[in-house]
């Protein structure tokens, strides 16, 4: 147990890719947490998918021992957080467990949308914020300009900002000194009843459910009987430790410290983040404030390509959820796709990641249906039913239009930062997506524009489009601003005259024709030619609003089957059958599974 005055708890926050994880690497190395040989790039990004994409998805906590220039050894609890907006929730939990934050800003990119969003969160927690200007080794680095931005846009004193190159190891000791000097030590009373915040929990195949805690008061040690104040369950603590980043067992975790416990908990459900842990005997009476519940904002259906894999999918989703409590799922059935799950996600990247983890870690082939948001629909009364309000998660459940009194859709406030030169195209993109501009300001050569946008226009490829029209320079952040009524209709896509439920979507009437035409055109390219011609139509109710036709396949025959060489032909047939297994049948048309998502990509508008 470390003396409170020698503890520093801090998060590293930044916009995506500004170098948080790389800085964490250097801090770990400097403090000797890992030897050169054990080190790898962004060592805390330990999931395959994080390594591959070079992004952090899950916050990670590391305890380091740092001997400062004053000769004292400090216990530093460092929390590396994700930068992408979808995982803002991870950041907020980490911030709640700390007294300060390192705000990393890329010296070439400057302040971006997520920089601000994270700073504001940190300020809400009364944090001491230490600005770090990173990547000063880059030729395009303009540390002085960035220092100014931090002062002007954020309003933080940046005169003592630490200049670093996490990549080349410049300024690392200065960062550590600044942490010790500026971030206040935690407060807490070791003799008071135990109060520990449940910061995170995950499933580890060897240890079972592992819980990350921040002790506020009292001491957590092995053998203690604890209870979860909200969950109401009781458990026996059987292991106490921390990550350095190697898992290290400890005798106890005292006030102000961050560490982990295991307590023979079978289900992650029982260890809900934000809960307060106290002792069974003489426990605390008042729980900590806890976290805001996260609400999934994007929904889509996940179906196994092979219907026989449904049970496997159910099991895999269950397991995956043990490590990511932020997505929700419920069973769903579709006329054409069979049984699957309707899942809720924090955003599109989150959706993509879950989908990829399912297919990769659990070896599942999945079909993903069009992402959709949650609509609120007021229904009038009928002879047998009263008027009521329903929530629509799935376009397939769209009620009888004649009963609909009003549909409301979620809106967001989007803040976009961009170099001037891309502003024009960005405004057009927002306009096309039914956006309402509320603010536009310039700082230096950069513009900050604020739009109110319907979430359903953003949910699909808005972010991709934004990145591509700005060559990656624009950044984007959003917050939900509630529901607004809209003239929304359900658009059906019919392939060979059969409605394909997995392709139906809810759109605003004004853009329906445009979207319908786009989808028909894309499907025309995505669906291979068949032996007969295939009409593809978009319809609202009974009215066809767009149409394309896929011509029939006319040539596909092996002209010469030579000398009784059947083997080769057979291979061809096998390949053909395998290809078919990856498609879905609608009527007599096979639709490749990629088509379900690709059809929605709005491409170069």
């Amino acid at each position: 147990m470390t003396d409170l005055s020698k503890i520093r708890n801090f998060s590293i926050i930044a916009h995506i890719d500004h170098g948080k994880s790389t800085l964490a690497d250097r801090l770990i190395q400097h403090c000797g947490g890992l030897t050169e040989r054990e080190m790898s790039e962004q060592v805390l990004d330990n999931m395959d998918i994080e390594k591959e994409r070079g992004i952090t998805i899950k916050a990670q906590t590391v305890r380091l021992a740092y001997t400062a220039r004053d000769g004292e050894t400090y216990e530093l609890n460092l929390m590396d957080t994700p930068g992408h907006v979808d995982f803002a929730y991870e950041v907020s939990r980490s911030l709640a467990a700390c007294e300060g934050a390192l705000l990393v800003v890329d010296a070439a990119q400057g302040v971006e949308a997520q920089t601000l969003a994270n700073v504001y969160q940190s300020i809400e927690h009364d944090h001491e914020i230490v600005p770090v200007i990173n990547k000063i080794d880059l030729p395009a680095a303009e540390p002085e300009q960035v220092r100014m931005e931090i002062e002007e846009i954020i309003g933080l004193d940046a005169s003592e900002a630490v200049l670093t190159s996490a990549k080349s190891g410049i300024g690392i000791e200065e960062v550590l000194e600044a942490v010790v000097a500026k971030i206040p030590p935690p407060k807490g009373d070791r003799d008071a009843p135990l109060k520990a915040m449940l910061v995170d929990s995950w499933y580890d195949p060897y240890l079972g459910v592992v819980i990350l805690v921040r002790v506020i008061d009292g001491v957590l040690r092995k053998g203690l009987s604890v209870k979860f104040m909200q969950g109401g369950t009781q458990h026996l603590v059987d292991r106490v430790g921390c990550f350095t980043p190697k898992r290290t067992d400890l005798a106890d975790i005292g006030p102000g410290e961050i560490g982990f416990i295991t307590a023979q908990i079978k289900e992650v459900e029982q260890a809900r983040v934000g809960d307060t842990i106290t002792t069974v005997k003489n426990g605390a009476t008042q729980a900590l404030a806890g976290y805001k519940e996260v609400q999934p904002v994007v929904f889509c259906g996940l179906f196994p390509t092979d219907a026989a894999d449904f049970e496997k999918l159910r099991e895999s989703i269950g397991k995956l959820r043990l490590n990511d409590a932020s997505f929700s799922f419920e069973m769903e059935s579709s006329a054409a796709l069979g049984f699957g799950f309707r899942c809720g996600f924090l955003g599109l990247l989150h959706l993509e990641i879950i989908q990829e983890r399912l297919s990769r870690e659990y070896d599942l082939d999945l079909i993903t249906t069009a992402p959709s948001v949650v609509y609120r629909i007021s229904l009038g009364h009928t002879k047998n039913e009263d008027a009521k309000v329903i929530e629509l998660h799935n376009p397939a459940d769209y009620p009888d239009p004649s009963r609909i009194v009003e549909i409301e859709e979620p809106w967001i406030k989007a803040t976009i930062y961009t170099p001037d030169e891309y502003l024009g195209s960005i405004l057009k993109l927002c306009q096309d997506r039914r956006g309402i501009q509320t603010d536009l300001t310039y700082v230096g050569g950069r513009a900050q524009v604020t739009y109110e946008l319907p979430l359903n226009e953003v949910v699909f490829d808005f972010y991709d489009r934004l990145k591509s029209i700005s060559r990656g320079y624009a950044s984007f952040d959003y917050e939900q601003i509630g529901l607004r009524p809209g003239d929304l209709v359900k658009m059906n896509i019919m392939v060979n005259n059969e409605p394909v439920d997995a392709l139906s979507l809810i759109v605003h009437r004004n853009v329906a024709e445009d979207r319908g035409r786009g989808m028909c055109e894309r499907l025309k390219d995505l669906i291979p030619r068949h032996l007969f011609k295939i009409p593809i139509q978009a319809a609202i109710g009974g009215k066809i609003i767009a149409r394309e036709t896929i011509a029939a396949l006319r040539k596909d025959v092996t002209a010469k089957c030579y000398g009784g060489d059947i083997t080769r032909k057979k291979k061809l047939l096998e390949k053909q059958k395998k290809g078919k297994a990856r498609m879905r049948e609608y009527g007599n048309v096979s639709i490749p599974q990629e088509a379900f998502i690709a059809a929605l990509r709005m491409g170069e508008e």
């Binding site: 596909d556 092996t558 002209a559 059947i566 061809l572 047939l573």
Partner: protein
């Protein structure tokens, strides 16, 4: 049961740019060695399949018309000694229509060959150049004359759906070929096969293959013209006057047993799929080492055999007898074909059925591969 023997001669003077068959260009072929080796390969097969008199023999290649007639004669003599010959045996040899080869036709006939399949390929000199052929149209027509006087039966090969070929051009060429009066024509659409020079050319943009739609039009035209001329399609690319079909090829398509010897030859023998070493040198080496050229001999399970029977049988206009196949392989008809899809494509006119027979209709032949993917049950292919 038919008793068919295939003999592969792997050598050509020059490799044609469209050809992906097992053919090689070599100097100084030791004909004595090849004779001994082919005889050994034949004897090996005879020891395993002494099934009674042969009904057909086919010399394929490569260019078997480059074989010395004496070599052909000695192989035929040995085949007759081993198995005996059916009275109506068909002995086919593939020949290039060059003047040199035409000079051998009389001797080949004397050696026992009674049918030639002549690779005219085109009746247009420019097209012959494009196809990399070493003969001119005049030369090949002279060879055709010789062939028609030397052999009982002659078939001609043509390649159509060439880049830029119009319907009118093809119609004229085909009508002319029909005018030669052979009782059999093999009419192949040009296909760009991977691993050929044409595949490289196409990738490099040297030429663009004829698009699928015009190619399909030419295919349909071919069916009309040949049918009107009394040479209807009996198989995807083969056209014959009634009774003049190649008996040897019918053996493949009806999925009866056939023996294959020589480099790269395939065989189906007593429930086994056999394959020989492809490279001439490796095949020779195998003969020297093990007394036969086999590189693989694999038992076929009932599903595999049934899928092969369907793939081959549906190439024929006569189609397949599903009950007979069901009895032959001990599999229910429902295990072999996807009934629902079969019915669907029948209703669209791609397939026909009559009693126990199922066949591909004219409209379906040009898209047979796609149809097979629909009709042959997934179960059969997966297992």
């Amino acid at each position: 049961m038919a008793r068919a023997l295939y003999i592969h001669w792997p050598f050509c003077l020059k490799k044609c740019p469209y050809c992906d068959f097992n053919s090689h260009v070599r100097d100084g072929i030791d004909h004595g060695l090849w004779e001994r080796s082919l005889l050994a390969d034949m004897q090996h097969e005879h020891a395993l399949a002494d099934s009674g008199p042969l009904t057909s023999i086919f010399f394929g290649g490569g260019t078997p018309s480059l074989m010395p007639p004496a070599l052909v004669g000695s192989l035929l003599k040995e085949a007759e000694r081993l198995w005996g010959f059916d009275a109506a045996i068909e002995i086919t040899l593939e020949a290039n229509p060059s003047s040199v080869e035409a000079g051998k036709f009389a001797a080949l006939s004397a050696a026992g060959v009674n049918r030639v399949s002549l690779g005219l390929q085109s009746l247009d000199d420019e097209a012959l150049g494009f196809l990399g052929r070493l003969h001119s149209v005049d030369e090949s027509l002279a060879a055709l004359d010789v062939a028609q006087s030397c052999f009982q039966r002659v078939s001609c090969d043509l390649i159509y759906a060439r880049p830029g070929q119009s319907a009118d051009q093809w119609e004229a060429e085909l009508e002319r070929a029909i005018g030669f009066g052979t009782s059999h024509l093999s009419l192949y659409q040009l296909t760009i096969e991977p691993g050929t020079r044409f595949a490289t050319d196409v990738r490099r943009g040297v030429f663009e293959p004829l698009a699928d739609d015009p190619a399909a039009d030419l295919f349909a035209l071919t069916q009309d013209i040949t049918a009107a001329a009394g040479l209807p399609a009996c198989e995807v690319s083969n056209h014959a006057a009634p009774g003049e079909e190649s008996r040897h090829n019918l053996t493949y398509w009806r999925y009866e047993d056939y023996i294959g010897i020589g480099p790269g030859a395939h065989g189906r023998r007593g429930g086994f799929a056999t394959q020989r070493h492809k490279k001439p040198e490796n095949w020779l080496h195998a003969i020297a080492e093990q007394g036969n050229g086999l590189s693989e001999e694999r038992p076929l399970n009932a599903s595999e055999a049934a899928s092969e029977a369907l793939m081959m049988g549906l190439r024929l206009r006569e189609g397949v007898d599903l009950d007979a196949l069901s009895r032959r392989f001990g599999l229910s008809v429902d295990t072999m074909i996807d009934r629902e899809r079969t019915e669907f494509y029948r209703s669209l006119g791609f397939l026909w059925s009559a009693d126990e027979r199922l066949g591909v209709a004219r409209q379906g032949m040009g898209v047979l591969d796609a149809l097979l993917g629909e009709v042959v049950s997934g179960e059969l292919v997966a297992s």
